[in-house]
């Protein structure tokens, strides 16, 4: 319990540092957000420009410390401000519109890649590591270079190829978008959403599969070298029991941490996939925010990413305590 409390305190401290850096970073960027936005409207009234500065919260009357504290106050109240680029849309509404799509598509792809990758990695390692590691396994021989190759494929390149050949030439899937304009809700609507999600999710799963396969395989190989596996075989336990009930459970622990990090990063969106497939998501907003010096949008999205990542990390550690008795014993010391 004390272990968890300590971790929680560290979490709070890290959060505060992240929020402060979040405030400072956009302001360290060169360039003036008001000028950037209004550059293409040169005829704008200077009073309108001033009013906009005030609404952006950039009027230099407030000291930087004052701005920082008002920023903290707004965050605690859940007010992330209004975007500069898409003024007067509020940052919360923009995030609320796009985050579910990112969580759904990217989150699903990550989980699928993890599940498939762990399964494949485990099988490859078992084939190879079983019975003392003397066996040649075709699965393992192919899987390792295949995994590395998949990881090396640039996602945007694969995405563009798929859009052109599968969507445009063959017409199997829509060319882009998250749903067909004017599509109804209900069951056909869900089907429509799934249809649009297949190619983006497939691309993401494929490029991240390799990493999971390698992780699980290597972890599994290490575990299979342990004495208890030899003992289990000597005792006569069936291979399947050894593989799933004993070896895999131990091998999956590093995957937990990795999965926590991966899920935390999911909320950052996948900007290339979103652009090529015109899929709704938060990555595109982040790109626009950085290009247009849109402080509130940038801060809002970075905040979500940092908080999610830290919380996911914390949950992974908590899960570790639950799952691994060795850590539980360590923690209670």
């Amino acid at each position: 319990m004390r272990y968890l409390l300590r971790r929680f305190a560290v979490l709070l401290l890290t959060l505060w540092i992240a929020v402060t850096v979040n405030f400072a970073l956009p302001r360290l960027m060169p360039g003036d957000p008001v000028q950037t936005k209004l550059a293409t409207i040169p005829g704008i009234s200077p009073l309108a420009r001033q009013a906009l500065e005030k609404q952006f919260g950039l009027d230099t009357h407030q000291s930087i410390v004052g701005q920082y504290f008002s920023y903290l106050g707004h965050i605690l109240r859940g007010d992330l401000g209004r975007s500069f680029t898409y003024f007067p849309s509020s940052v919360t509404s923009m995030i609320r519109q796009s985050l579910p799509w990112t969580l759904g598509m990217v989150g699903f792809a990550t989980l699928l890649a993890c599940a498939l990758g762990c399964g494949l990695g485990m099988m490859a390692a078992w084939r190879r590591g079983a019975a003392g590691g003397n066996r040649n396994s075709r699965l393992d021989t192919f899987l390792v270079p295949l995994g590395v190759m998949c990881g090396a494929i640039p996602p945007f390149w694969l995405a563009t190829l798929l859009v052109y050949f599968v969507s445009f030439k063959l017409g199997w899937f829509p060319v882009g978008g998250s749903r067909t304009p004017g599509a109804a809700g209900g069951l056909s609507g869900t089907f429509d959403v799934l249809k649009h999600a297949v190619l983006p999710a497939f691309t993401l799963t494929l490029v991240s599969l390799g990493g999971w396969v390698m992780l699980m395989r290597n972890s599994m190989l290490t575990v299979l070298n342990d004495d208890f596996v030899k003992f289990a075989r000597a005792v006569g336990l069936p291979d399947r029991t050894i593989a799933y009930r004993y070896a895999a459970r131990n091998a999956i622990l590093p995957v937990f941490t990795q999965l926590a990090m991966a899920l935390g990063i999911v909320v950052g969106g996948q900007v290339f996939i979103e652009i090529v497939f015109s899929y709704q998501g938060i990555g595109y907003w982040l790109l626009q925010a950085v290009m247009n010096e849109d402080y509130p949008l940038m801060q809002g999205i970075f905040l979500i990413i940092t908080v999610t990542l830290l919380v996911a990390n914390f949950l992974a550690e908590a899960l570790y305590v639950l799952v691994d008795p060795r850590v539980r014993v360590e923690a209670s010391k």
């Binding site: 009073l47 309108a48 199997w172 004017g182 089907f191």
Partner: protein, 569 residues
Amino acid sequence: MVTHVLRYAKATRLKVLLVAVVVVSGVLLALVSGVSASPRSSAVTTGGTLKVEMPWGTLPDNFNPLTSQGSQAGGTLSCLYEQLFYFNPATSKLSYVLASSYKWSNKNLTLVVNTRPGVKWSDGKSFSAADVAFTFNYVKANQSIDVNGIWSGTTLKSVTATGTNQVTFKFSKPDTPAIVIFAAQFIVPQHIWSSISDPATAANTDPVGTGPFTMDSYSPTTIVFKKNPNYWMAGHPYIDQVLMTAVKSNDTALLDLINDNIQYTYDAITNPAKTYAAKNPAVLKYWWPVTNDNFLVFNTTKAPYNDAAFRKALAFGLNTTLIAQRAYFGAIPASTGAAETGAIPGQVPSWIDEKPLKSLEWTYNVSKAKSALAAAGYKLKGGKLTMPNGKSIPKQTILIGGPGWTDYITIAQMISQELKVLGIDSSVVQAPWATYSGNLPAGKFDMAVTWAWGAAGGPSPYFIYFYNFAKSQIAGKTNMSRYTSKTIEKALATYAQSSDPKVQKTQIQSIAQDVMTNVPVIPITARTNYFDYNATDFVGWPSNKNPYNAGEAPDNPGGKLVLINIHKP
């Protein structure tokens, strides 16, 4: 042994099962997608549905026409709200929208605009001059929405409704170009906006306008606009619905257009003749009318760009025809002949007499450039050009925006190569938008490639000349080259004080002459709108033969003209 084989068989069976499941679901999905592919304009009504796509990413839940363009959802400014006039920037022609006529009087200190009778708001109430006066005074009272500089950039003193269909604008000093600035203002209903206290943040999610369509349903990816039965142009629009979507990349829009999933978009397609129209020449069309220029801008406050002879000599050294061909694959022309004045070619016949300017024109001629440089005192020493005072010209930079503006990269690189031939060493600097849009008005560059800022929509060359060469537009504004001349200042002032086209034309001529003599900027290529459309289901599109708009985007007031004029064949 046997157990091993059995185990292997079990695992393989599992794998086979998995593969079968994937294949079957893939086939199912393909069948579903084939069956439920969105139908063409539905056969339900005689009108039809036009599908429009905009490749700049977003449809915010905001229908406020008073904030800067781009803050509101696409379609607000084309389907829902209207202005007093429409000035066609490609042809200089004026069309009356909510106004029906106008007249200057009282030594151009008074402008009387008659508004169109019989116009109704989409909620049934009548439109009148009171709404126009209200809108202008509303902008005055809330400076945060004066995005066109109506009250700060003109000498307007007061706006009053002097009749049910008459509005009077009073000026403190004559300022006739102001009418073009007034034309940019969208008119909103007094009976709704008089109770909105902060127009800059109002989302206006239930919009009421005079436009040809009403907003039927909104989602972040699609907005449905339905025909406004009370629209003032009898019989128009012909179509029943406009489906407006936004996508995040030009490629998606292009593929959708080729597949006839959408019919109207705005996309600067690379090599449109080959990569787009050639796929189906009968229906895949594009029309890119010239509405601006791409300039090579000199920072005339820095040596050697402060020397007019130097600038003029350089003009002979640039092969603009080849540059345009490489950058735009023949889709956009170079600036040659009359376009070298900086004016838009479509406006030249009405405004500029080309004959007296022929002797000032330049054509690509490297030896002439070299001899002109030598005559101006610039000598070549070891392949590098030196200034008349003997110092060699250091390495220069050509600033362009980015990332990814491939046409500008090509233009700037070719310019750099051609300058090398003359003995000037230069490098191309690609800056992100924030830096580019900040450095240009601030004068932090040597040379730059950019367009004529602020001039979009100007119906006479006055606007390009004013925004690019007026003294008042230097500090932090649009006169990037920082060039001034007494001739130009005087001509601009005389033009603005007169409403007589003959007087105005004389002023334009003298400015054109000054620009061609002193060459503060070199027009390299034209700059166009990028109107692309699929003509499978509808006819009545604008073209060179029928240029009723200037090829604007579907969320632009010029785009509205397409929406109200197309119909099923």
